[in-house]
Symmetry: D2
Subunit: 325 residues, 4 copies
Amino acid sequence: MPVPQHVFDPPFNIVRSSHVVLDVVDLNKSVEFYDNIIGLHVEDRDDTTAYLRGSEEHQHHSVVLRKAEQSAAARLGFKVGSEADLDKAGSWFAEHGVLYSFVDRPFQGRTLHVTDPFGFRLEFYATMDKRPHLLRRYERYKGCHPQRLDHFNVFAAETQDTIDFYARLGFRLTEYAEEDGDGGRIAAAWMHRKGNVHDFAITNGKGPRLHHFAYWVPGPLNIIHLCDVMASRGLALERGPGRHGISNAFFLYVRDPDGHRIELYCSDYQTMDHDHEPLRWSLRDPRRQTLWGAPAPRSWFEQGSPFPGQEVREPVFVADVVIAD
Amino acid sequence: MPVPQHVFDPPFNIVRSSHVVLDVVDLNKSVEFYDNIIGLHVEDRDDTTAYLRGSEEHQHHSVVLRKAEQSAAARLGFKVGSEADLDKAGSWFAEHGVLYSFVDRPFQGRTLHVTDPFGFRLEFYATMDKRPHLLRRYERYKGCHPQRLDHFNVFAAETQDTIDFYARLGFRLTEYAEEDGDGGRIAAAWMHRKGNVHDFAITNGKGPRLHHFAYWVPGPLNIIHLCDVMASRGLALERGPGRHGISNAFFLYVRDPDGHRIELYCSDYQTMDHDHEPLRWSLRDPRRQTLWGAPAPRSWFEQGSPFPGQEVREPVFVADVVIAD
Amino acid sequence: MPVPQHVFDPPFNIVRSSHVVLDVVDLNKSVEFYDNIIGLHVEDRDDTTAYLRGSEEHQHHSVVLRKAEQSAAARLGFKVGSEADLDKAGSWFAEHGVLYSFVDRPFQGRTLHVTDPFGFRLEFYATMDKRPHLLRRYERYKGCHPQRLDHFNVFAAETQDTIDFYARLGFRLTEYAEEDGDGGRIAAAWMHRKGNVHDFAITNGKGPRLHHFAYWVPGPLNIIHLCDVMASRGLALERGPGRHGISNAFFLYVRDPDGHRIELYCSDYQTMDHDHEPLRWSLRDPRRQTLWGAPAPRSWFEQGSPFPGQEVREPVFVADVVIAD
Amino acid sequence: MPVPQHVFDPPFNIVRSSHVVLDVVDLNKSVEFYDNIIGLHVEDRDDTTAYLRGSEEHQHHSVVLRKAEQSAAARLGFKVGSEADLDKAGSWFAEHGVLYSFVDRPFQGRTLHVTDPFGFRLEFYATMDKRPHLLRRYERYKGCHPQRLDHFNVFAAETQDTIDFYARLGFRLTEYAEEDGDGGRIAAAWMHRKGNVHDFAITNGKGPRLHHFAYWVPGPLNIIHLCDVMASRGLALERGPGRHGISNAFFLYVRDPDGHRIELYCSDYQTMDHDHEPLRWSLRDPRRQTLWGAPAPRSWFEQGSPFPGQEVREPVFVADVVIAD
């Protein structure tokens, strides 16, 4: 119900969502999926870890796949504005009772690890090894031609508190879904740092879990081609293609070999104006989830990737309508 | 089970499916739908009848909307090669116990009316008033930019007999769906005259009824735009967008204000080779209906437009799997 | 000036243009171009010959590349309706003073070779080895996703006579470009057998030479992707992308390593109606060549592939406007 | 030659390029062009002025058309972060010898007018009347579906000085074209505030003049449709469609009835990272202007819109290669 106000002067400067670290049980199979089906580019790999990126990304990686005993969403990575921001971040987390550590991650500069109060495992960095972008390497295009990682979407058990926490870090609300009436509770929030609809979306549900991470693609035909490619390989789509009311996105959701969910999407809008106002959706408005009317499958509402070592909790409240986008 | 052989020398020459005549209860509402939503072009209209066509069609109309008390599929129209073919057609139908009449239809030359032995009401003509095509009138493009009527798809109660009947008229099988095993029955057939996948498709079910008629559009993005336009107008989609295994079509199904179903589709293939072989699909292969896996709604399997004065019969057999594409 | 009437009952039945045989000086380089850049599929190859096809083609090949000392357009291939048509073709050519021979070509049935009176080297066949189409093998899509060979376009020194000759074989005029005024001469003709704008186009110029052969692709974005892929490989485009007035085609022209010209195109229209009337263009109407106004380069008007052993002659007349599409 | 360093803490906060004010001699004709051809939406108009916007813009207008005796680029509009930024801006300009005034503009809050030292007439504002965006009003889409104003591109007579001036205001260099060798001079610069390739581009040439302003569209097919629509209306395209090496943009340039140039474009990339490095192009690399190789017409290099009352000067230097993108 209380919509967070935008904090124009946050304690440290998060530039944008940057990369996801995934634990996968069969590294070869996962690399095959992200490389040859989705169309990301392998930048480095060894027996235990693979690093991939989209075609416009100068950064070394936006997906890290790590061989593991159990599938999990290991870390959500954010880029900050400078090394000083890392130190400010550490101090701020410490002041707020969150343990932090600085770690060495391959191809990244100094990296700050924290687990937020709700169980989301994060990493922050200011610099990463750079590579020339691949935009003019059209001969290497494949899959759905993913250009850049765009955002994360998580299930949170304590939705309002989680939204408030990230609002204090400067994440700005662009759209939200809410129960109707006095005391109607917020059931989902889309928040950004970089100037489009979101870097981080928070959805009420059993959490902490990663619902999905999303890559931006050039247009709907790239997504349709991915549908055809996956069908040709005998792989199922989970949801879509379709159009969200939320964010106006043309979307497709697919699952990787471990069940991690990836969204391919395009056609949202800009939000960098200082007086940009958040858009409210009633939880009872079905156009929020799908402008076209096709229902999402049960799996899409219920399944997500846990974070290692983080117990999944029931949500504080169950909304009067099932939500998620 | 018995797949009809192609008759290279049929009793008269049907060139292609040409137009559909629909009975509608609210003419204004129907014209608004086909003109401003779908994007056909109104060529003529008065208080009782409207004539529309696609952008590449030189013929005066490919949809005729007639104000009526009851919604119905009034006629399926086919173009024949010459006036002589009309006379040959009349003779042939008479020989086979089918009554025929020649009637005057506005904007059409001499027109032959028959109701086939299964209750499908047909009309044949050799010439129709011509109009310059609208391909280079891009400023008039709207909706999904429908270019041409492509085919009809009907529910037939006597599937095998209906297929055999149209095979004798020269319709050629391109794809079909069949029960597995010895004695497996054909449950759906796609048959053409003009050199692509179909002019006429026959599906097992309560019949005679029109399942849908289809317009060919330039590409998938035109269909996606129609989804968005319909959603913007508060109109529901029935099925799709998606990809059929059958015919490789990228498809969308929507219903007009009377519930008549229209398919918008593209990306099938050519079939004019004399040695083109029909493609068999097992009824148990789900890729037939949808390459991507999204199920069709119940309405799509069950509902269709009756023909005026034709009693709808239960099918001769119920296939061991529900079918239709 | 005299526009040929359509011959509905030609001496033998040509179904459509089918394949081109090209002499190339560096087979590996040519295969690389057609396979990895254009996106055709190699069906067979050895040290001297490679066979490729488009994704919807059931036929074994639509391009044959033959290692040779000199680049040339070796043969234009057409499919006929039956073995009997081959014999009728042989007889007809003999009656009209054209030598013929039956030859064995790999993967083809009995094949008739003739050189027409104007020097165009042709081959006719009724059957070719078949392969399953690749439409539902989207994981193999590459380049511009060419689906099928669509047509040939040649420079003819004796334009009117060449048009008349092919009209007698049943090729039907769909569009033509003509000088204005009484006695205005036809400078280019688009003629079909299969029911779209053309199988064979004849352009006034130094001939006999092949101007280009064309593949149909799913849509404009496939062509735009090919532009980007070729640029990424450092390869130049010759003309386009653009829109022809003629045939409404969205087009791109590129040259293979031997300079053979290939057109990638989409979005023409159907022409199988018996009363379809040819569309006349004044040679002075620039929209004929390009609806958008960008001029074609000099090479496009002047260069073409000679046929082996056929002397290239100056055209009988020079039109009052340079033509070609 | 000296590449400006990014000023992270500029004297006032410019959020992005926002709108252009154009003087036009025939208001009806201009509105017709931007509304029915390009596809912008008229938000308000009277006898002397019309206000239009793109489909995703919440702001009241991004193009203002004013009836005038002479065609001109009246003002380039930028949005700042707050009212306080307007005051800071006034002070800063005054300190640097630039006169300023606050004016009332319809539908805008307090508006600051300045003419920069090079003759570019600017206006800054913090708030503008808001309207609901039109993204989910697909039934209103027309033309090329322009979504938002993206950037301005100007001819500057004093290129290096102009670049340095805007760098001090916080515009950040993303790409630039430079003569080769020691002392090679910068001939064009692309600079941003909002996080993509540019808000403001500066090109060496007779200045001050506006080269073009650009709208972002959803994808290449929208641009191709505009080509077809303009051709259908008998309107010429100036340049494109094509692909710039610079910014990776798929582009089209057209001229409005007064000759003002508008670019329709898509497919650039994000640049908000604090360590994003500018990309250098040699002036001798033709891929900068066009990845595909088609030359730009002379008009595109030479013509631009003057600013009222600002004398157009010859450039300080003439680059050793003609430039502009």
